[in-house]
């Protein structure tokens, strides 16, 4: 009765970027044992070279759109774009970590080889979610990303707050995983398959038969709650401020982009690709979550005095805009005009540059012995004008001012929501952005209009400087060339083969 086992000959060429990253992670572990004197900077060079190689391999795979491992692995243009986001964010995270590891910002030391290995495994997990064609692969990828993220949060193990952040992140993340996988079990139970495309086919058959079963609604709800925790949507955001404040600063930067990308990639794979026939049910839930999330995050951020905690709340606000993009799915009958996933992907890429950038400036100050309070930014403009200008660029981009990339990101999300006739959602985005301006302008005002109380920050951090220059360039250039990036992101329509 059981189907016979078939042997598969996987097309491993489709996995090139993933295999490069896997090889890199194993190589880093091996080097730690075999050549201990390479710990430190050589390991970071190797990591960056590995990510860049995987990025090149990814760019060569544009327009491939093939599947392997019996449809479990999809090398399509959606996975290409996810790879671009995470590998870029990975390179930037490593660049801002190198000087931080050797600075005296953390009590005791952080073990360097494991740090780069864990970031690499986390990136691999996110890339796997992006390329998943099966519920099981989505689950395994998400867990791979999260497990590395919990560990990295507690990496400053001689500082209690770091461990506290890790504990809270871990407990709620585990709780969320249990809910998510229960949702997957119900999806499998209702449709009889775990393949995402086949789930969509089954659901279309149900849909034409009329009515949605309660078990399917339960599955959708559990999946949204589980992934809501992962992307830090209100009311599932409780871990976010603590984890961001407790983690070592470069880890907070990495955490704001890479696990979030994994969560959103999983949402697209599960909700858009597999559950598109149920879109009338889930888009409204996502839209409501989006509004609550964007207002809560941005308003609570106003009252924060710790910059890392403030950026944590502001990251919740940005999750709200990204959810709004997803809520616009299924608006027009022609998917080629559907900007929902396009604007979500573009937002994530834009966010990688500007948010890691803002955390990088906090790292820059910490490397020079300053704290992470808003007060520590007092008079920065008179003491180190370049750092102040760079921070201002990132903060204005996060606010959404043209011609920076943050403006284009919000512009495309608003365009998508207007196309979907969700005018109230578009209005909410504009109002929430106005509220967020208070958060970012307060920090800018502190840098420019208050008297410095501490001695001028001094020190040399070449890698961090290179990272900052890259991110400023990204924040400006991705905005200028947004047309080309959007064209690439729009390829998701062919990649996901959504039944419509």
């Amino acid at each position: 009765m059981l189907p016979g086992l078939e042997t598969v000959n996987p097309d491993l060429a489709l996995l090139t970027p993933h295999l490069i990253i896997l090889g890199l992670a194993l190589l880093l572990l091996a080097i730690d044992v075999i050549v201990p004197r390479w710990r430190g900077a050589p390991m970071a060079y190797l990591t960056i070279i590995g990510y860049a190689a995987a990025l090149v391999a990814t760019l060569l795979m544009i327009d491939t759109n093939e599947t392997t491992f019996n449809g479990m692995f999809r090398a399509d243009d959606f996975s290409v774009f996810v790879n671009i986001i995470v590998l870029t964010a990975g390179i930037l995270s490593v660049l801002i970590s190198i000087n931080y590891m050797t600075s005296r910002a953390e009590p005791g030391s952080m073990p360097v080889p494991e740090y780069y290995t864990l970031i690499t495994f986390s990136i691999l997990g996110t890339m796997i979610v992006g390329a998943a064609g099966d519920l099981l692969i989505v689950f395994l990828g998400i867990e791979m990303t999260s497990l590395a993220a919990y560990t990295l949060t507690g990496f400053a193990r001689h500082r209690t707050t770091s461990l506290e952040g890790a504990l809270k992140y871990f407990l709620l993340g585990l709780f969320a995983s249990a809910i998510l996988v229960y949702g997957m079990a119900w999806t499998y139970g209702a449709t009889g398959t775990t393949n995402l495309t086949e789930i969509a086919t089954e659901l279309t058959a149900f849909d034409t038969a009329g009515g949605v079963e309660a078990s399917l609604l339960l599955a959708v709800l559990l999946v949204i709650i589980g992934l809501g925790f992962k992307v830090a949507a209100v009311p599932f955001h409780m871990w976010t401020p603590d984890a961001y404040q407790g983690a070592p600063t470069p880890v907070s930067a990495y955490m704001s982009v890479i696990p979030k990308t994994a969560g959103f990639a999983a949402m697209v794979r599960l909700l858009v690709q597999a559950m598109a026939p149920l879109r009338d049910e889930w888009t409204i839930i996502i839209a409501v979550l989006a509004v609550v999330t964007m207002f809560f995050g941005n308003i609570v951020a106003i009252a924060q005095t710790d910059v890392k905690r403030m950026l944590g709340y502001s990251s919740i606000g940005h999750t709200g805009y990204m959810l709004a993009a997803l809520a616009a799915f299924g608006a027009s009958s022609d998917l080629n005009d559907d900007l929902s996933v396009t604007s979500l992907l573009f937002y994530l890429l834009a966010y990688a540059f500007m948010n890691i950038g803002a955390f990088a400036v906090v790292t820059w100050l910490q490397d020079r012995g300053r704290g992470v309070d808003v007060e520590d930014f007092r008079g920065l403009a008179s003491q180190s004008p370049y750092a102040a200008v760079i921070m201002t660029i990132f903060l204005l981009s996060l606010t959404g001012l043209p011609p920076l990339v943050g403006f284009y990101a919000k512009y495309y999300v608003i365009l998508a929501t207007v196309d979907a006739d969700l005018i109230w959602l578009a209005v909410a985005i504009v109002l929430a952005s106005a509220a967020s301006a208070f958060v970012y302008l307060r920090l800018i005002a502190t840098m420019y209009f208050s008297q410095a109380e501490q001695p001028a920050p001094e020190g040399s951090t070449p890698f961090l400087g290179a990272g900052l220059i890259t991110m400023v360039a990204g924040t400006v250039l991705v905005g200028v060339f947004s047309g080309q990036v959007i064209d690439l992101a729009q390829e998701w329509v062919e990649a996901l083969t959504v039944p419509f």
Binding site: M1, L2, P3, L135, L136, F139, L140, E143, L147, Y150, T151, G154, R157, T160, T161, L163, E164, G165, A166, L167, K168, F170, L171, L174, F175, S177, A178, I179, V181, Y182, M184, A185, W186, Y188, G189, G192, T193, T194, P241, D242, Q245, G246, A303, Q304, R309
Partner: protein
């Protein structure tokens, strides 16, 4: 005698999942919270195996095996974090772990 159906599996799974969820939401001891989550995950496994049994396919069963493996990996990371924290502040009560505040 009543025959075993998928409903029995699902009732057991829902019971385990809800008991685990109540444990997570009401308990304060980190280890007990952790055990409650494990209970939720086992509820999921029962559901997966029940569905696989109903549909006479191996997919759900192999899914459950992967879930067990992931849960084991999670235990290691979690207990590691709890150990490290307990060495520093000598408590496993979540209410005492609250240095991070607004």
């Amino acid at each position: 005698m009543e025959e075993l159906t998928a409903t029995h599996f699902l009732l057991l799974s829902a019971a385990l999942f809800i008991i685990g969820m109540m444990g997570v939401l009401t308990r304060r001891n980190v280890i007990v919270i952790f055990m409650s989550v494990e209970l939720m995950i086992n509820g999921v496994n029962v559901a997966l195996i029940g569905f696989a049994w109903e549909q006479n396919s191996m997919v759900g069963q192999s899914f459950a095996l992967f879930v067990i493996a992931v849960a084991a990996a999670e235990s290691i990371v979690g207990l590691g974090i709890i150990m490290a924290l307990q060495r520093r502040i000598d408590t496993i009560d979540v209410a005492d772990v609250r240095q991070l505040r607004e």
